[in-house]
């Protein structure tokens, strides 16, 4: 697998505060990475820099294209971002118009727009919402609509910026299932940026950042062995990681297990 996102020697100051100082990051194509860090660790700034919402002169390669000041539109087509408050990105009065908005800007033919909307809304199971007003939907439905209006553009990278931690638990399960499907079937690279450590049990890799620096980076099974490092910056590790480690110590299971069903079946074979 090649690297779909490469950031080299990123330095960024905000007023006199240094947010990033020689920051380096690579994300492999087709992976699901959770970027976790305490409040104020630089997570949201990172998204803005990747999207070109904040200018920076650093070396950033996205899907084999070097980001410059001229190709920012092209770069943004490759990346879809879902933010914490989807309302702030909605522009249309129906879900269908919302999904069509970006496609119309790309001057696609009407038939193609309709076909894409049909395809994506079917895939996400939201055809029943197409005529509804996006502002009047539930939190989880809003995020699905935000996702739908991104997926019509067929991004190769999907960034979730604190996008799921405020959604009701039932709806969150549904969104995570949709994201898993997208990740597996379409190979979309997912980068989930969050302060909620429990979200790190989904996906493959975990990157822990604090004060603009990468503290830990790797496969979640390995990263969560470093419980002390998390504690030092005021974070816990996910419940399942903590339980796994203790059960491994008592020889009740042999490896880190993030799925509760799987763990119960390992203990009581």
């Amino acid at each position: 697998m090649d690297d779909i996102l490469i950031i080299k020697d990123l330095t960024f100051k905000y007023n006199d505060n240094i947010i990033f100082d020689n920051f380096n990051l690579t994300i492999k194509r087709g992976t699901w990475t959770t970027i976790i860090g305490p409040n104020g660790s630089g997570k949201s700034t990172l998204v803005k820099i990747i999207m070109g919402l904040i200018k920076s002169d650093s070396y950033i390669v996205i899907d084999n294209t070097l980001k410059t000041n001229d190709n920012i539109k092209e770069i943004r087509k490759k990346i879809g971002v879902i933010f914490e408050h989807p309302d702030s990105t909605f522009v249309a009065e129906t879900v269908m118009d919302e999904m069509a908005f970006a496609l119309e800007n790309l001057e696609l033919k009407n038939d193609d727009i309709k076909r894409k909307i049909k395809e994506v809304s079917k895939y996400l199971n939201i055809t029943h919402l197409l005529e509804k007003n996006p502002f009047q939907l539930s939190g989880g439905q809003k995020q699905l609509v935000a996702l739908a209006s991104i997926l019509v553009l067929e991004p190769t990278i999907l960034i979730l910026d604190e996008a799921i931690n405020r959604i009701d638990y039932v709806e969150r399960d549904n969104i995570l299932a949709v994201l898993s499907k997208l990740h597996k079937e379409k190979g979309v690279t997912i980068i989930n940026i969050t302060h909620d450590i429990e979200e790190a049990v989904y996906g493959d890799d975990v990157i822990l950042i604090d004060n603009g620096k990468i503290i830990l980076n790797g496969n979640k099974e390995l990263v969560f062995l470093e419980e002390k490092v998390f504690n030092q910056i005021g974070l816990d590790i996910p419940f399942m990681a903590s339980l796994s480690q203790k059960l491994m110590y008592y020889n009740l299971i042999d490896e880190m297990t993030f799925d509760m069903d799987l763990m119960v079946n390992k203990i009581w074979k």
């Binding site: 009701d168 039932v170 429990e198 005021g234 974070l235 339980l243 059960l247 119960v264």
Partner: protein
């Protein structure tokens, strides 16, 4: 201080095409000097309930007794400013309401409008800061430049400065990392234990709630569908799920073992107690 809802109903945009009934015949009695929690899916009416306690909105039917005051449609509230002094309401993301240049001005702003003397304002600001675990060195600082956890503390202090008997928190953990959450739990417990406040917390964060709530009300279908101490409420895993509410991970695990393996391990607060149970039952 008594807070009691009697057959309270609330309809938004009554008699219009956007009419929506949020609460119906709701009965609820807040436990004094305890940490009360109200949980429910989004849109279940949690925020409506707490805004009523402060008389920001008035029930469309029924009434709420707060101390000696009735909040109801048919009669005017006699002393609404006293009610609002007694009931402090801290909204979701309270720090977004900052508009002063120093912490001192931010916390003191409310008192100033009520013609308090300068000395008393100073004393109250200092006390409020102390309650949230900050000292006077924060007074001249710009609230916008504080860390997220500190911002939230200052926002809470600007309510505590009124010395309310009841403190209501709307989704207080939203946007906080685990460190700041643990600080908030300590703060809320201290407000109850040391300062004898009645606490009402509205939240969807069940892990947070499990660590601090004394008494829980579960809101669904426009009314309270389940209430009790946290042990009683969280042992009803299936009922909670039916109403779209999850349970803390430590309880989810025991429940799964009971359902799939038929082993009853009991209710555990801490992961270490859970491990002991697993060890005992797995051998």
């Amino acid at each position: 201080m008594e807070i009691k809802f009697n057959n309270v109903g609330y309809i938004y945009n009554e008699k219009s095409s956007l009419e929506k009934e949020i609460l119906k015949d709701l009965n609820l009695e807040i436990k004094s000097n305890q940490i009360n929690a109200i949980i429910g899916k989004s849109g279940s009416g949690k925020t409506t309930i707490i805004e009523m306690i402060n008389a920001l909105i008035i029930p469309t039917s029924g009434n709420i007794k707060v101390d000696n005051c009735f909040i109801e449609k048919k009669s005017k509230i006699v002393n609404i400013s006293l009610l609002r002094f007694n009931v402090g309401l801290i909204f979701e993301f309270p720090e977004e309401q900052f508009f002063n240049k120093t912490v001192e001005k931010e916390i003191g702003f409310g008192l100033k409008t009520f013609n308090y003397k300068t000395d008393e304002i100073k004393q109250r600001i200092s006390n409020a800061l102390k309650m949230v675990g900050l000292d006077d060195s924060y007074l001249p600082r710009n609230p916008h430049t504080l860390s997220n956890g500190e911002k939230r503390k200052v926002a809470i202090a600007s309510i505590l400065v009124f010395n309310p008997k009841v403190v209501i928190f709307d989704e207080p953990t939203v946007g906080l990392d685990s460190n700041s959450k643990n600080n908030l739990i300590r703060l809320i417990k201290m407000l109850k234990n040391k300062y004898n406040k009645t606490i009402i917390v509205v939240t969807q964060d069940v892990d947070f709630l499990h660590k601090m709530a004394d008494y829980i009300f579960v809101l669904s279908d426009k009314k309270v569908v389940l209430e009790g101490d946290k042990y009683q409420v969280f042992s009803e895993v299936e009922t909670l799920r039916k109403h779209g509410i999850g349970v803390p991970k430590v309880i989810e695990f025991s429940h799964k073992v009971l359902m799939e393996k038929g082993i009853k391990m009991g209710y555990r607060d801490e992961i270490n107690d859970l491990i002991k149970d697993i060890y005992r039952y797995a051998k």
